[in-house]
Symmetry: D5
Subunit: 121 residues, 10 copies
Amino acid sequence: MDPGDGPSGDLLEAVANPHPARAYEVRCSTPEFTCVCPRTGQPDFATVTVVYVPGPWIVELKSLKLYLWSYRNEGAFHEDVTNRILDDLVAAITPRRMTVSTDWLVRGGIHTVVEARHPEA
Amino acid sequence: MDPGDGPSGDLLEAVANPHPARAYEVRCSTPEFTCVCPRTGQPDFATVTVVYVPGPWIVELKSLKLYLWSYRNEGAFHEDVTNRILDDLVAAITPRRMTVSTDWLVRGGIHTVVEARHPEA
Amino acid sequence: MDPGDGPSGDLLEAVANPHPARAYEVRCSTPEFTCVCPRTGQPDFATVTVVYVPGPWIVELKSLKLYLWSYRNEGAFHEDVTNRILDDLVAAITPRRMTVSTDWLVRGGIHTVVEARHPEA
Amino acid sequence: MDPGDGPSGDLLEAVANPHPARAYEVRCSTPEFTCVCPRTGQPDFATVTVVYVPGPWIVELKSLKLYLWSYRNEGAFHEDVTNRILDDLVAAITPRRMTVSTDWLVRGGIHTVVEARHPEA
Amino acid sequence: MDPGDGPSGDLLEAVANPHPARAYEVRCSTPEFTCVCPRTGQPDFATVTVVYVPGPWIVELKSLKLYLWSYRNEGAFHEDVTNRILDDLVAAITPRRMTVSTDWLVRGGIHTVVEARHPEA
Amino acid sequence: MDPGDGPSGDLLEAVANPHPARAYEVRCSTPEFTCVCPRTGQPDFATVTVVYVPGPWIVELKSLKLYLWSYRNEGAFHEDVTNRILDDLVAAITPRRMTVSTDWLVRGGIHTVVEARHPEA
Amino acid sequence: MDPGDGPSGDLLEAVANPHPARAYEVRCSTPEFTCVCPRTGQPDFATVTVVYVPGPWIVELKSLKLYLWSYRNEGAFHEDVTNRILDDLVAAITPRRMTVSTDWLVRGGIHTVVEARHPEA
Amino acid sequence: MDPGDGPSGDLLEAVANPHPARAYEVRCSTPEFTCVCPRTGQPDFATVTVVYVPGPWIVELKSLKLYLWSYRNEGAFHEDVTNRILDDLVAAITPRRMTVSTDWLVRGGIHTVVEARHPEA
Amino acid sequence: MDPGDGPSGDLLEAVANPHPARAYEVRCSTPEFTCVCPRTGQPDFATVTVVYVPGPWIVELKSLKLYLWSYRNEGAFHEDVTNRILDDLVAAITPRRMTVSTDWLVRGGIHTVVEARHPEA
Amino acid sequence: MDPGDGPSGDLLEAVANPHPARAYEVRCSTPEFTCVCPRTGQPDFATVTVVYVPGPWIVELKSLKLYLWSYRNEGAFHEDVTNRILDDLVAAITPRRMTVSTDWLVRGGIHTVVEARHPEA
């Protein structure tokens, strides 16, 4: 994979949900997310957490890792990248519901967290 | 016991609930769960937590330990094993309600938790 | 006191609630509880927490300590002792509502908590 | 001030709420509370927390400190002192709602917290 | 910038919300807030947290930093400054909802937190 | 076993050290220790920690558990019981060096730890 | 006891050391210490920790509690009270060595700890 | 790999130390270690930590993982397995110095840690 | 006081050491330190800790607070301000030994601590 | 800056030490380090900590940030990158002594820390 190609939901692999009849919850979290500040060109770092109730599919973990990796060279604002990850995951696995949150390392003395839900409460 | 025989709900022993008239809660948690990744054949590790309101039965703790031990050589996906444990426990002791969660050690930089409830909320 | 006499709700002393008109909450917690496993005869240890909204009485703290002490030589299962403590306290001070929880030290790799409420939610 | 005069709500100073139109919340907490056990005459220690939504007044912090200090030589049971502090503060500043909790250092192996609300939920 | 000019909502820069259709949440927190006690003239210190669901705009982080910096020489009571920050931010970016909390370092042995919401619950 | 027989070093089982040539360290710790206050007759509770470099023997863990259990009905001062445990263990397994510490739950508002070493530094 | 009589080493009771031949360590700690600021007359609060290797005597815990209590109405600077407690304890039980530390609640934004040893290192 | 073959130092791969002239330190730690109790046949779990100053070689991390995995079906006492891991690693990479510690989950209420060093201090 | 006058050791008040014969230790720590970055003109924030063994004098706490306050408008590099505080305190109270450390809030993603000692080890 | 140019000590800026006569210590730490695994091509993440006693120079913080950033596309083993950072910093500012440690996120279930010192102890 070449992260220079940039983020794409096509990197996400959907696997058949082994227990589709039950509304159980899956939570995935990784501190290994980095992208680039569109204003300064400097790297940003975040912990990304995905919480969802699967519908027909679950997300394959290795593909989730590759998808998050694909932001490495991407210029992306905190609020935007959070919503894009949510949109791509919802498109890939159509969960019953999903929350994506990004928890960013301090910039300018300010610690920022962004959290988006699908569908809205 | 020979863990090579694989997981079976028959290992779970139901004991008469000493206070069946009251909807009290029991929470059991153990960090001593390990199974095998069906894709790579390598061991996975999790903390398993069972929270339930007993019906006519409670689960005998030693049998719960043996039941969880029986996954030691089993190839099992995170989402699947969580639902199987819930199904086996519900079948064995018919609780008023039960939640099973599994909290897995990091794989590919991602920390995963799966949680299933019976009956659904 | 001779703990060999075993647990009895008679050890609990009820004191007049100084503010009976208001539904305020009292929480008492102690890590100093021990009884005996009815199967193995070996000692078990727990932290006991009592949370209640007093009715006409509050429980006198020293009598609560003596009451809990009286389980020292008693053979008692986790689920049973929790409900007995709740029953004895409810009988002694007729609270508006009360929760008793017991948080037991690890046995067989499993950490267990039992929690009972009066009246039920 | 002479703490020998004992606790009195008159020590509490009410200051005009600078934003009376909005139901915002103020939380004040101090580990510097001590009174005397009415039974043994020995000192007791607690952390006092006051959470309130101001009405026309807010409580001036220095006067709150002096008011709490005035319990230093007072014989007072845990449940009673908590309700008295709530009553005095409600009388002094007529908040929209207020909670007072007291978290006492261990006595007889038991850790006690008392919490009272105005008006009741 | 000259902090001697004092706080002004004009310092806050509104940026177009990149995902205005979704009610997602943004949380910004900084321990780098200081102002001056109007009574004693001595410095006060607080951690400021802003949680909001953006409407048409989000707040630009560097402008938020400059805005909070502008309180450095301002005489301001805890309750007042919290409501002023909320008012200025609501005026600047008209969020769907917003909470501002300020968590102040100990004064007179008392730790104070103030929290205001728009619109009220 | 009958804990009424009281503590005796005979309960400790010595097992041959599998690596006697190397000065490695073993640390055993348990929060499950209780004895009785010789003055008041009331139960005391402690966490016991044993750290040692084995000589020809190591202590068998189950026998260590039974030995500590045998103090359950014993009247014993904090300082005395710590030195007795050290003496009994040194007699049973002649370690190269050993430290025994006991960490007692609060009595009279005071938290006490006692630690004894063999041989002295 | 009347704390108005002020602190006196005579309150400390020396008990014969049950294991005088061994240089073991005793650590006693309590958060229940309060005295009065000699400048402002306002109460101060500290956690007092005493660590010592007993000589012929150990300090009886209840007498240590009463001794610390006797500072309740005493005007005492942080540095002075720490050295006085050390001097009184050394005079009462002639330990092989002893350290007294006092950890004071925040005054003027500053957290202070004072620690004195006998004999000096 | 078939863990049934049992532990063998041959699984450890030595890689040339890229900076052999400097005595720098490497610390590797994993909570993913499990073996079998030789007495009861039941699984044991430990966190294994290896700290070393490399000589001519460093240990390849994947081979370390496979080596630790090979204990999965091995009956091994706590003290023995710790020394065996140290011996195998020392034989494989001849470090300037190395410490191996194993931190075991609770058995019989006792938490055990074993730590061995090469060469001895 | 007018912080615009800038830092000066003259603000520090020396008080006679009440126990000059003993080498005891005093530790003062405050999170309430702020100065200005000489490059950017933006505020910096730090926790300042002073640990010392008094000689003939101890530092009066209120004067220490005023002294630290006097840096509020001062442009000062991390390394420089730490050494200046140490120099001013040593000049004011000639301690037997003293350590000053400053722990700065994150700048450019980097957390910095500076620590200086007198006399050098 | 173009991180594609790879790491170079030329990025480090040396600033004159404002207090060269005193052996004080500076500690810089950042969780914002990422490079690439030379075997798998996948990103690795670490917290880098630099502790040093300056000689004639201190390292300028922004240049340190840019230097660490330059590893973003570099293939580098854990042990190697730690020693390279130490070598480059020593060459740039000739400290009296320096320690560089890197604390890497989990790979293959193993958490690794590497620490190198100049000069060696």
